[in-house]
């Protein structure tokens, strides 16, 4: 027994070494950290920092072939040395866990009531009626409407936010003193995220749990954490109260991390002479008709007029309308951001512009050509002038092709003259433009990091000097510092080459960094469109306002003020509704 400390959870010199065929990975190195009673401690860091492993060690959930060192004291007992029986009673009883992806944290073939009861059964609640009563109680506490009736429902019958609520209910079931929340909102939309964060706060306030929150989102940290621990490559860099950390970070790495976070309202860093350098008058126009600012310009890069797009999931089923009556123009050289939550139809619009979706109604012109009824051959010709950047850099490359082959592919497809040597020279040029060393040409995609791959994606998109680039969530799979780098490169290349761009993202702060104008999509409809500054700072539509309000600002003081300003009694289940 440690005696001196009453902290519910304490890591002492925790070391985790994991053996892999390639050698031993020192995943966590000598982390000493204490969770105080009733606090929310955020562990932040980029992917690979060891934050998740550290937190999971609190429950003894370790990957295979892990060697441990140090101690993890949970309520005074060392989890790492605990016998299996003791470990079982700790898990769920003393400490519980909330997972990142609620849809995979619930077993799809059992009703949620059964799954909730499992935790109680494992901890000796043998009376079925008692189990049921407590299950219903927990579901009600986390805001599942009509819990008695829904006990027998299966996970797929709930929405993403509701599933996360159920996962939280499971964690709370035995009133553990410690809750480990591993990226609990990463998989959710911002409006849902705000609700889940409120619920976590209630877990602390009403149930007296101390919470370890693992996240990479500095906005979430500012919103909810009391103290913050920063990790980098397995080591603890800095621990500080949240205000102090944001106000005056001690370590260089923390400063760097904070600087990389895009802030909503941070605005664009305009170069000195923006109007002159921009190829069209796009960047100085704040009116929505950017076309009029450049009267001599040819047809706009993209023109959508009352576009409907329908999906048919199977033969004979009712078509689902993914996009309804969207009108939008992108002028030559203009960057238009498209934001919206999942299912808003933003990616569908991007795909339609690339000719992957057929338009059910309305007019869709790309670079002056009407896409409806465009012959296949003409479409392929048109695609030569459009570049595409995809969300998942891992999946967007054929693993049988080298980086060079990937960049050259568009040139081969369109039989760009000059032959192999000219193609390779161009590829080298492009890799240089995205700041990748020439030696990478011979590597395979899986030998690159996510950020590097995304830069290759950009190089590939620009291979044929496109007039239009469509970027679909290009940075959402990346860490913030990597994201900052990719966005930088994107912006400078856009200025240099002057292509028009449609930038699709769920992250308002990212869109603000580079878009001239922003469109906001909700349920397939374009609810607001205007100059970036105007939309994000003086939103007109209530949905835009709600969206912006839901994004936590990565500044604890500001976020606190915003939270106070909110209606304290606002209904949690607003957007979730009853399914």
């Amino acid at each position: 027994m440690t005696g001196e400390s009453t902290a519910p959870l304490r890591f002492e010199e925790l070391t985790l070494d994991i053996d892999t065929p390639q050698g031993t990975v020192h995943a966590v190195r000598g982390v000493t950290l204490e969770l105080q009673r009733g606090e929310i401690l955020a562990i932040v860091g980029e992917s690979g920092s060891g934050k998740t492993l550290t937190a999971r060690a609190a429950l003894g959930l370790l990957p295979p072939r892990t060697r441990t060192g140090g101690r993890v004291l949970l309520g005074g007992a060392d989890v790492l040395q605990a016998a299996p029986e003791a470990l079982r009673s700790i898990r769920g009883g003393e400490a519980a866990m909330i997972f990142q992806e609620p849809s995979t944290a619930l077993n799809p073939v059992f009703p949620i009531g059964w799954q909730l009861e499992e935790g109680l059964r494992a901890h000796g609640v043998t009376e079925p009626a008692e189990r049921r009563r407590r299950t219903v109680e927990m579901l009600r506490a986390v805001g599942i409407p009509d819990p008695e009736r829904r006990l027998g429902d299966y996970p797929h019958q709930f929405s993403g936010g509701q599933k996360q609520r159920i996962v939280i209910a499971m964690a709370l079931a035995l009133r553990p003193s410690v809750i480990i929340a591993d990226e609990p909102t990463t998989a959710l939309d911002v409006t849902v995220q705000a609700e889940i964060l409120d619920l976590l706060r209630e877990c602390r306030d009403d149930f007296g749990a101390s919470i370890v929150l693992i996240t990479h989102n500095m906005g979430v940290v500012a919103d909810i954490a009391d103290r913050v621990a920063v990790m980098y490559r397995g080591e603890l860099v800095e621990v500080a109260p949240v205000d102090e950390l944001f106000r005056s970070p001690r370590e260089a790495y923390t400063r760097q991390l904070l600087a990389a976070v895009p802030r909503l309202g941070g605005g664009r860093e305009e170069p000195d002479a923006s109007p002159a350098s921009a190829p069209t008058g796009a960047s100085d126009s704040t009116t929505s008709t950017a076309v009029s600012a450049a009267p001599a310009a040819p047809a706009p890069a993209v023109l959508l007029d009352g576009v409907d797009i329908e999906y048919r999931s199977g033969f004979g089923t009712k078509p689902v309308r993914a996009v309804r009556g969207v009108s939008l123009q992108i002028a030559r050289g203009e960057v238009v951001g498209l934001v919206g939550e999942s299912g808003s139809g933003k990616s569908t619009i991007g795909r339609a512009i690339g000719g992957l979706e057929t338009v059910a109604a309305g007019r869709l012109e790309v670079l002056g050509a009407e896409l409806r009824g465009l012959p296949r051959r003409r479409l392929r010709e048109l695609r030569r002038r459009i570049g595409f950047v995809f969300q998942d850099p891992a999946a967007s490359f054929n693993s049988f092709m080298t980086i060079e082959d990937c960049v050259i592919e568009p040139m081969r497809i369109h039989r760009v003259p000059g032959g192999r040597s000219a193609h390779r020279a161009r590829a080298a040029e492009l890799l240089d433009a995205v700041e990748l060393p020439g030696s990478y040409a011979r590597r395979y995609p899986f030998e690159l990091s996510g950020g590097q791959r995304q830069r290759v994606g950009l190089a590939r998109a620009l291979a044929l000097d496109p007039e239009l680039v469509i970027a679909d969530e290009p940075t959402s799979a990346l860490d913030v510092s990597v994201q900052a780098r990719v966005l930088d490169i994107f912006t400078s290349l856009q200025r240099e080459l002057g292509f028009a761009a449609l930038f699709i993202s769920h992250d308002l702060a990212v869109v603000e960094l580079l878009a001239d104008r922003v469109g906001v999509l909700q349920g397939g409809e374009l609810v607001e469109l205007g100059a970036t500054e105007q939309v994000l700072h003086a939103p007109q539509h209530p949905y835009t306002q709600q969206l912006i309000a839901a994004v936590p600002v990565p500044d604890p003081e500001v976020q606190r003020l915003r939270r106070r300003a909110e209606d304290p009694g606002h209904p949690l289940l607003d957007a979730e509704a009853i399914a």
Binding site: R91, G93, A96, F99, T104, N107, P108, A173, G314
Partner: protein, 316 residues
């Protein structure tokens, strides 16, 4: 649910069409004349022509096909050239032993494979896992007729524990029936057992890697309960599929096993019919077996719906 069954039944129609065409064309692929083949080289041309007419071989192909399908739909598979009974009767007489054999084989397979596959997955990489995987490799390698012969030599001829041939209906004499069927059943079930073991192991491993198992573990659910209550239901989906698919292999193997053990089943009927070119019987048996196979797999599809709520409640 009813709509689901109806849709599944509907989707069988094109498959059955293809099957019927393939089976029907078997006769017409034959180089030479079936009538001549039946009557032998000494028959006169008139005799052959008469037989052709009585068999309907002189009619256009489409007409013959439609006539055959029409008959099949009303349960009339035609008459055997040799057996002096209708194909339907022949199938009826021979189906029972084959079905009993298949049931025993599948029971042997499931009883052996599911526990061992599960345990192998649980103790992955351990000694048990290695030996189970080794056995499955042997099980998949040793052809069923070799295994049958080996069993016959050891238990039938050397130890004299079990009869080496013949068939007793277990519904009439249970002990005797089992004694005659157990060796062929094991010989037949071995490959299937190996296959199901491997599938079970892979499926359980997959499920054990899932987040929800970690989630349950993080709530303190015991490892044993984790394996049997939380994992097996999910893992049963691919296992069910492979059981359905391996039924085809069972019937195939039955042809060989029945011949070795001299069991009057469909397999033996088919082999003898092929030897004497009794086309109506060949067609009938293959069609009947295929139909049984398709219906069992339909049944398994329905079971799928019971195990997995997403199939049941999801988009129907």
């Amino acid at each position: 649910m009813l709509r689901f069954i109806f849709r599944r039944l509907l989707s069988l129609l094109p498959v059955l069409f293809v099957v019927s065409v393939v089976i029907f064309s078997l006769i017409h692929l034959t180089p030479g004349d079936p009538a001549r083949a039946i009557l032998g080289q000494n028959a006169t041309n008139e005799q052959v022509a008469a037989l052709r007419e009585s068999m309907g071989l002189d009619r256009p192909l489409v007409e013959q096909y439609l006539g055959w399908v029409g008959g099949v739909l009303t349960g009339d598979f035609g008459d055997s050239y040799f057996l002096r009974k209708s194909v339907t009767e022949a199938i009826g007489d021979n189906a029972v032993p084959t079905i009993q054999l298949a049931v025993i084989a599948i029971i042997v397979a499931i009883v052996l494979s599911v526990p061992f596959g599960t345990l192998a997955a649980r103790f992955r990489g351990g000694r048990l896992d290695r030996s189970v995987m080794g056995f499955t490799l042997i099980g998949m390698t040793v052809p069923s007729f070799v295994l049958a012969l080996a069993l016959m030599v050891v238990f039938g001829l050397m130890l004299r524990w079990l009869p080496i041939s013949g068939y007793v209906n277990p519904f009439e004499d249970f002990a005797g029936g089992i004694r005659t069927l157990i060796m062929p059943g094991i010989a037949l079930g071995a490959i299937t057992a190996a296959l199901i073991t491997r599938t079970t192991r892979a499926a359980v491993l997959d499920v054990l890697n899932a987040d929800y198992i970690d989630a349950a573990r993080s709530r303190g659910v015991a490892e044993g309960r984790l394996l049997f209550s939380h994992t097996l239901k999910n893992a049963s989906l691919p296992v069910l599929t492979i059981i359905g698919l391996s039924l085809g292999g069972l019937v195939t193997g039955a042809a060989v096993t029945e011949t070795i053990f001299n069991i009057p089943g469909l397999g033996q009927l088919l082999v003898t019919s092929i030897a004497r070119r009794d086309y109506p019987v060949i067609q009938g048996v293959i069609l009947f077996v295929t139909l049984i196979y398709l219906l069992t797999n339909l049944l398994i599809d329905l079971l799928y719906g019971i195990v997995d709520p997403r199939v049941r409640v999801g988009k129907a």
